[in-house]
Structures are given as C-alpha cells and as structure tokens.
C-alpha cells in the first residue's frame, strides 16, 4: 500500500472501520463456508459405492466434511487478510528504489540465464533420461505457447482449437514420411506450410466472428479435425494411428547403432541418449526460431498491425489496414508454428494417434499463454515451465496433485490477474523503451 497517501486521511475513522472490516471478512468467510457445505455435503459427506451384488452401499464421512468446510472458512479469512495487507488491486506497491533497480536487473537477467541453463541441460543431466524427456516436453509446450501467442496474445483472437494445427503438422509429417519416404528435413517445412494453409482455411469463415463466437467456432474446428482423422481410416489409420514414423536424422546420418550411424562415424560408443539429446536441441532450435521470428514480426508493420487490431479494430480500418488479411496472416503464422511442433512431436514419438490431439491440449496451451501474460515471450516460457514442469513436480502428491495444482493456479491468478509478465514492451522507441502497464493494453475481443 502507498503508505502515507492512502492511510493519512483515514486516520480518524480507522478504528471505526476496523470493526466493519472484521465483520465483512467474517461474513464473506461464512458465505464461502456455506457454499462449501452445500457443495461438499454430497461430494465428501456421503460416500457411495456399488456393492458386490450391485446394490448401493453408502456411508457418511462427516468429520472429513467438517474439516473441509473449516478449511474453506479459514482459507477465506486468510485470503481476505492477504488482500487487505496487499492493498486494493491496482495500487502500486512502494518499493525502495534500490530494491526496484535490483529487481529490474534480475528481470533483465532472467531470460539470458534461462537460455544458458537450457543449453546446458543435456550436459548437466546427461545421465538422467527422465529430466531430458521432461525438458523436451516443456520445450514443445514453450514452442506451442509461442505459436499460439501470435494469435491470442498479439492479434487478440481467441483460438480454442489450436491443437488442430498441431495435429495437421504431425499427420503431415507422419503420412509424407511413411508413404513417400520423405526425410524429416523436407517434411518439416511442408508440415508448417500445410498447417498454415489450414489456418487460412479456418480463418476465412471465422473472420466475421468476434469474441465468444470465434472461440466456439475454433473449438469446433479443433474437434472436426480430430473426428476427420478418426474416421478417414484409409488415409490416417483411424483410431489406430500411424506407427513406424521415421526418426529424425542429423542431416542424413541416422542416430542408430548401425555401421552408418552417427556413433560409428564419430568412433564413439552408441548410446540411446544421443538421440534424446539430439531431439532436445532440435526442439530448442525450433522454439528459438519461433521466438526469433515472433520478435522480428512484432517490429515489422504486420506485427504492429496485429497489436493495433487487438487494441482497436475500427481505428485500424480508418487507417487503411486490411483487417481480413491481417487476421489471416496471424492465424497462418500461429498455425505454421503449431505445424512445426506437430512434425517434431511425430518424429519424437514414432507413433501418433488422434488421442494426442484432444481439446485438453488446446486448453493447456491456451492456459500457458494466458498465465504467461498475453503477448509476453518470456512469460509464456516461464508459464510452460511452471505448468508442465510444476505438474511433474507434484507427482509425489499422487491424488492431491490436481488439487495442489489448481490451488496454485488460483493463487497465481489472484496475485497476477494479467499473467506472470503483465506489461507490454514497445516495439519502437525514440529515447528509451518504457514498459506499458497491463491496465492500458487491451485483450482483444475478436
């Protein structure tokens, strides 16, 4: 809280209002507890199960229910107290300048440090295959997040069917490689182009739609692609998927124990980890390409037009910007990166099936973009790390994993409603680049 400016004028009624604040918090906690009681009385209070002969067995668990309601009551008070201490949303915390400059330095250092660390991961964790696999998974989602960020974060178009492009990329590579024997390096651009084409095809009919309508149509598009894949058995193998997808080669040199493999050529002993490390650097390179292109695009007229579109579509039209092509390019660019990621996914797994491309994936990638702070590249990377890595971190908690994860998300959204990195960096400046507060930046509506 801004110490003096806010509290000084309210010095007198402070004691009077303290009582009412306490009453307010108590009332709020009581309501929360009541809601919890109603919700949980059936979910926790009564446990039902089918008996051995099919009859219904049930028993009550009132102590657990009481514990839960008490926890909600206490939690509500804690959250309100935290809010009180934090000050109303939107006030600026007065931080000493020294701490502020230190924080700014830390913020600037975090991206390069993260990058260096990522490059060193295969070296540090060479023996731990689990960590390497997790790293590849996180990087895949970082790339997907960065790709979707173009559509949602920059252009402000809510896309709930992003996984469709991921699927198109994956199946493009899988089918081209298994049917025509094309190599990964030829298929990669093809997969991107095909996904971009699908992006444009989706874009055309939905351009007139805005907000909720756009979200619903993109959601449907994602499902349609999945259903087509399931039902077009002759091409895609239907629910059985495509197997025997060729593994990537290092520019033609396979990473196998064979005589013409990389290990034999270098004269070192073969290890399956070689391929994992190769895949790690491959997805890292693809993700960094995505990042580089996005950062470049933001500083080009097309990228500025995307952001302007998110800010005010009517003003864009008055300035002679073609809304249709601008939206289409955003869709196509995002889709292309999704296609690249899909091709990588196919070559990494060696087997793909429609099950990998459900709505849950779209939701996860969208959550990463929103959590990261829409439009922020670093925020998306951090969010992917937190979501995918964090989820693995809670593995030890077994059944409570989802619960802890959900609580963490809710807390984060209370603390940072506009995402981890909530401010926008200008794309061009005369004197100095000032971060723009998230209150001013629009989220887009179409």
């Amino acid at each position: 809280m801004t110490g003096e400016r806010v509290t000084a004028p309210t010095l007198e009624p402070a004691s009077a209002s303290r009582g009412s604040i306490a009453a307010f918090i108590f009332k709020k906690a009581l309501i929360s507890a009541l809601v919890a009681l109603v919700l949980f009385s059936l979910m926790i209070g009564i446990r039902t199960e089918a008996g051995p002969t099919g009859q219904l067995i049930y028993w009550t668990r009132f102590p657990e229910l009481a514990g839960m309601v008490a926890a909600v009551f206490a939690g509500s008070i804690a959250v309100e107290l935290l809010r009180l201490w934090w000050g109303p949303v939107g006030t600026v915390m007065v931080v000493p300048p020294k701490v502020q400059s230190a924080l700014a330095l830390a913020r600037r250092a975090i991206a390069p440090l993260l990058l260096i660390f990522t490059f060193l991961v295969p070296v540090i964790f060479y023996q731990q295959r689990y960590i390497l696999d997790l790293g590849i998974l996180v990087l895949t989602y970082v790339m997907l997040g960065w790709g979707l960020n173009v559509v949602v974060g920059l252009a402000g178009l809510l896309d709930l069917g992003y996984v469709a492009f991921y699927a198109v990329g994956a199946y493009s590579y899988a089918l081209l490689a298994t049917n025509f024997g094309l190599s990964f390096w030829i298929c990669l651009p093809l997969a991107g182009i095909l996904a971009a084409l699908w992006g444009v095809m989706l874009g055309f009919p939905v351009l007139r739609l805005r907000g909720d309508y756009l979200a619903i149509v993109t959601l449907a598009f994602g499902e349609i692609i999945r259903l087509v894949i399931i039902n077009w058995q002759s091409l895609t193998g239907g629910p059985n998927g495509v197997s025997g997808i060729p593994r990537p080669t290092l520019f033609g040199i396979p990473l196998t124990p064979a005589d013409d493999g990389l290990a034999a050529k270098l004269g070192i002993e073969f290890s399956p980890t070689h391929r994992i490390v190769f895949l790690f650097y491959l997805i890292l390179a693809l993700a960094l390409l995505t990042n580089w292109v996005t950062i470049r695009l933001r500083r080009l007229p097309i990228g500025r037009a995307w952001e302007a579109l998110r800010e005010d579509e009517v003003a864009c039209r008055a300035l002679g910007i073609n809304i249709t092509t601008t939206k289409l390019t955003a869709f196509a660019t995002g889709a292309m990166f999704g296609g690249f990621a899909g091709a990588f996914f196919a070559t990494r797994q060696g087997f793909i099936s429609p099950e990998s491309f459900t709505f849950q994936e779209s939701a996860l990638v969208l959550a990463i973009v929103v959590l990261g702070g829409m439009g922020s590249q670093l925020g998306v990377a951090l969010a992917a790390l937190a979501m995918i890595g964090g989820f693995e971190l809670f593995r030890g908690l077994d059944q409570y994993r989802m619960l802890v994860f959900g609580v963490a998300m809710v807390l984060l959204m209370i603390w940072r409603p506009r995402g981890l990195i909530g401010h926008r960096a200008p794309t061009v400046y005369l004197e100095h680049s000032q971060a723009i507060s998230s209150d001013l930046v629009k989220e887009g509506h179409g």
Partner: protein, 277 residues
C-alpha cells in the same frame, strides 16, 4: 462540377430502419480549404462522416472524391479500409480511438502501415533485415517524429497513448490521421473537451495542415469560436437536411440557422450569434 472541389456529395441519404439520419444532402468541399459541417446534436453529422469514410453504406446518393491529378473516385463503391488506402481519406473519431496500449510513436507508425508493408516486401524483406527496409523504417520514424514535434508531444513519444492527457490524445489522433498522408482529412469534433488555450492551439494546427501540407479538411465542430475562426465554408445541417451554407459570416447571420440552434440548444445559439461580435 468545378475542378477545385475535392469532395462532392450528391443527394446522400442514410436510413436506419425508420430513422432518416441523412436526407438528400448535397454539398461540396473545396481543395485546400477547411469546410465545416455544423448542426445541433443528432443532426446527422457523424453519419455523413461514416458514409464518406466507408463505415456505413449509404442508402442513396453518390460521393465523388477528385484527386489533384484529376483522378476521380466514387467513395460509395469502395469499402472500409480501401477508402483510406486508395482514396486517401483519413478521419478521427468523436470518441477518441487511439491504440491506448501502444506508445504515441507506435500509434503514428501503425498509421503508415500500407507504405511500410510495401517497403518491407510484404514482411519478407523486413524479416531478413534488408537495407531498403531499414531506410524505409527510418524514414517512417522521421515522419512520426516530425508530427510529434508539430503537436508538441516529442517528449512523450515513448509514453503509452492511453496515459496522455485528453487534449494531447486529441492532437495525437489528428497526427495519426495525417501520417496516412491523406488528401482529405475528416475531423469529428476535434475541439470537444479542450480548454480555450488548447482550442486556440488546435486552430493553429488545422490552419497549418491546410496551408503547409495542402490537405483539405472537413470539420465537424460544436465550438463556434473554432468554426468561425478557421473555416472557409460552413454547411449547416438539421434533422438530416442541409438548412444553410456559406461563409462563416453569412451562416452566422442566417435566421434559419439561429432558429435551428435555438430550437435545439439555447447556449449554442447564443454562442453562434456572439462569436462574431
């Protein structure tokens, strides 16, 4: 039709269901002159602007824009963004429509979108950082800087547009429209919400846009001191029809105009009458 008129509106009508917002309106705007469009609230002025700039498709009538080189464009045949891109008509809005989350400089860069798109080779030259793109970008920044200087906002170039004071936002919106290098600039109540000193500055800015940049201006304005001071020609509307037109002096003394304003708003009528005396 005279050669020196940039815009001629003929028998323009715009109906919304039962409401006739503009009814058989005809007027012309001369090249390198300031033409004011005035009238009481709800007279249909903004609707005329929306027809000219392609936001509404008129129910009837034609609007012809003639460029310096004699090229004529029928505005009612173009749609939204093409009017700005091809016919070179720029506009501002009654409720300011800046890009609030972008800096003042970025706002002016977005306005140069079409020129920059061409220079960046539809993005591909820009992506590889070709020298031709770099010089084009530098020139665009120079143009933006020039306009920031003209409106006195150079020191706030890197501030978010949404953070600027109201008067500065109004001027920034005009500068943004000018960065599209228009032949005709349409301003919808640019002096609304400005104090006397700011209005005076605005008048000066508009005169210099007319004289130094050779742009023609179509101006909707309620602030009669601004209208009387800078306009070359005034068109008065009421209930969607033109009730008078002429020089500021002629219009001010026209009994029909005074009656229209008296019927609508006494204060404004007094403002019309007093502004000259």
């Amino acid at each position: 039709m005279r050669v020196n008129c940039i815009l001629s509106v003929d028998h323009l009508s715009m109906r919304f269901g039962g409401i006739v917002a503009v009814n058989d309106l005809s007027f012309t705007a001369e090249r390198r002159k300031i033409t004011a469009l005035i009238g009481p609230n709800g007279a249909g002025k903004t609707t005329v602007f929306n027809c000219i700039t392609g936001f509404y498709k008129p129910s009837g009538g034609t609007m012809r824009l003639t460029h310096d080189d004699g090229r004529a464009i029928q505005l009612e045949r173009l749609n939204d963004f093409r009017i700005s891109k091809q016919a070179k008509v720029a506009r501002t809005f009654q409720n300011i429509r800046l890009f609030p989350g972008m800096t003042a400089l970025e706002n002016l860069m977005v306005a140069q979108h079409n020129a920059l798109m061409r220079a960046s080779g539809l993005t591909f030259l820009g992506l590889i950082g070709a020298p031709s793109w770099r010089t084009a970008e530098k020139r665009a920044i120079d143009l933006a800087t020039l306009w920031l200087k003209r409106i006195g906002l150079l020191d706030r170039a890197d501030d978010a547009a949404g953070n600027l004071p109201y008067g500065d936002q109004r001027r920034l919106e005009i500068a943004r429209a000018m960065c599209t290098e228009p032949a005709l600039l349409c301003l919808d109540e640019p002096a609304a919400g400005l104090n006397a000193r700011e209005s005076a500055g605005l008048s000066e800015l508009l005169l210099s846009i007319r004289d130094d940049h050779g742009a023609s201006i179509l101006l909707i304005e309620h602030d009669m001191s601004v209208v009387m001071e800078i306009s070359d020609h005034v068109v008065v509307m009421d209930y969607g029809v033109k009730i008078a037109e002429g020089s500021p002096r002629e219009v001010r003394d026209d009994p029909r105009v005074i009656a229209a304003y008296l019927g609508a708003d006494e204060e404004e009528a007094i403002a019309v009458m007093e502004s000259g005396t």
